[in-house]
C-alpha cells in the first residue's frame, strides 16, 4: 500500500468515526490540537487501524505521533517491517 492510499484510508476512518469534515483532514493536521482527538479517541483509532496494519498496532508506535502524516509514516513503517520480515 502506498502512503497516499494509507492517507485515504485514514481519512475515511476519521470521517466515519469522529465526524471530522474532509476539509480539515490534511497531512499537517495535528491529531490533538487541530482535530480534537483525545486519549479515548486515540484508542478507538488504534482499533480501527488494526485491519489496515494487518496487526495490532502497539500504542508505543503512536507515542511520538503528532500529525496525520506521522500516522501514515508509522503505518507505512509497520507494513514495511512486516514484508521485510516475510
Amino acid at each position: 500500500m502506498t502512503k497516499h492510499e494509507l492517507f485515504e484510508r485514514l481519512s475515511a476512518i476519521l470521517q466515519e468515526t469522529f465526524d471530522i469534515e474532509p476539509s480539515r483532514i490534511i497531512p499537517e493536521a495535528r491529531l490533538h490540537d487541530d482535530l480534537d482527538i483525545d486519549s479515548i479517541d486515540a484508542i478507538d483509532l488504534l482499533v480501527r487501524l488494526k485491519p489496515i496494519a494487518g496487526q495490532r498496532v502497539p500504542p508505543e508506535v503512536f507515542r511520538s505521533v503528532r500529525t496525520l502524516q506521522d500516522v501514515v509514516d508509522a503505518l507505512y513503517g509497520l507494513l514495511g517491517s512486516d514484508s521485510a520480515a516475510a
Binding site: 469522529f18 483525545d38 486519549s39 479515548i40
Partner: protein
C-alpha cells in the same frame, strides 16, 4: 459598623475554613482511618465506611461554613440522589462543589485530580476511599463504568477544572464517553454561585462583596441509549452528548440565583 466588619470577618472565616478542612483531612488520615483498618478487616467494608466518613465530614463542613457566614445555600431536587448506580455530572463554578455533592451522596465515588492523592491533607481520605484518580490512563473510562454498575454514585465534573470567571465553559469528553459506553443515564446537577467566589485564578482571600449564595439543583435524568455503543458509533455519540451537556450546563448556570 457591623457591615464594615462583614468582609474582614469573612476573609478570616474563609481562612479558618481552609485550615479546618486541612486539619480534618489530616485527622482522618492519622486517627480515623488507622483505627478503621484496625477494627474493620474486610476491605470492601473499609472502603464503604471511609466514604461514609467523608460524606459526614463534608456535611459537617458545609454546615460549618454556613454557620461562619461564608456561604448560604439552597437545595432543589436532592431526593433524586437517593438512588444508587448514578452517574452524576455537574458544572464546576467553585472549589467546594465536590464538598457539596459528596455531602449529599453517602455512597459517592468520584474522579479526583491525581495531585490530591499526594497532598498531605487530602492523601489519607483519597486513598482510604479509593476514589478514582484522573491519571490512571485509558482504563479510567472502564473503571468509571464499573463503579457505576457496582452501585456507586459516581460524581464527575466534565469541565475537568473550574469554570473561568468569564464563563467560557469547556467540557472534556470523558464523562460523555462513560455515559455512552456504559451505557449509563446521566443525573445532571446545576451548581450556581452568586456572587462567585473560590473560583479559579482568584486567591481565596479576595472574598466577594456578599456571602456566596449557592443554589444546587438536581435535574431529571438524561437517558442514554445503548444503541450507539453497540453500532460502533461511541466516539461520535460522545461528541454529540458533550455538545448537548455543554449547552445544558451553560444555560442552567447562567440563570440568576433567586430568579
Amino acid at each position: 459598623m457591623l457591615e464594615k466588619l462583614d468582609r474582614p470577618w469573612r476573609i478570616f472565616a474563609t481562612g479558618l475554613s481552609f485550615a479546618t478542612f486541612g486539619l480534618g483531612g489530616l485527622a482522618l488520615r492519622l486517627l480515623f482511618f488507622p483505627l478503621l483498618t484496625l477494627f474493620v478487616r474486610d476491605p470492601k467494608r473499609q472502603q464503604r465506611l471511609a466514604r461514609l466518613a467523608v460524606h459526614h465530614t463534608f456535611r459537617f463542613f458545609i454546615g460549618y461554613m454556613r454557620a461562619l457566614g461564608v456561604l448560604r445555600y439552597e437545595l432543589q431536587g436532592v431526593e433524586k440522589l437517593a438512588r444508587s448506580g448514578l452517574l452524576i455530572l455537574a458544572n464546576h463554578p467553585s472549589l467546594i462543589d465536590v464538598v457539596f455533592l459528596i455531602s449529599l451522596v453517602p455512597n459517592a465515588d468520584c474522579v479526583v485530580k491525581a495531585s490530591l492523592a499526594n497532598n498531605p491533607f487530602t492523601r489519607g481520605p483519597i486513598r482510604a476511599t479509593r476514589y478514582l484518580c484522573n491519571d490512571s490512563g485509558p482504563g479510567l473510562i472502564q473503571d468509571c463504568i464499573a463503579s457505576v454498575k457496582a452501585g456507586n454514585n459516581l460524581i464527575i465534573f466534565p469541565e475537568g477544572s473550574r469554570t473561568p470567571l468569564d464563563g467560557n465553559m469547556q467540557l472534556q469528553r470523558g464523562a460523555a464517553n462513560i455515559a455512552v459506553r456504559g451505557p449509563c443515564d446521566i443525573t445532571p446537577v446545576i451548581i450556581r454561585c452568586e456572587p462567585r467566589g473560590l473560583t479559579k485564578g482568584m486567591p481565596w482571600w479576595k472574598v466577594p462583596e456578599r456571602p456566596m449564595h449557592y443554589v444546587i439543583r438536581v435535574e431529571d435524568d438524561i437517558h442514554v441509549s445503548a444503541q450507539d455503543a453497540e453500532a460502533g458509533e461511541a466516539a461520535k455519540a460522545a461528541r454529540q452528548l458533550t455538545t448537548r451537556l455543554h449547552d445544558h450546563f451553560l444555560r442552567g448556570s447562567q440563570e440568576h440565583v433567586g430568579a
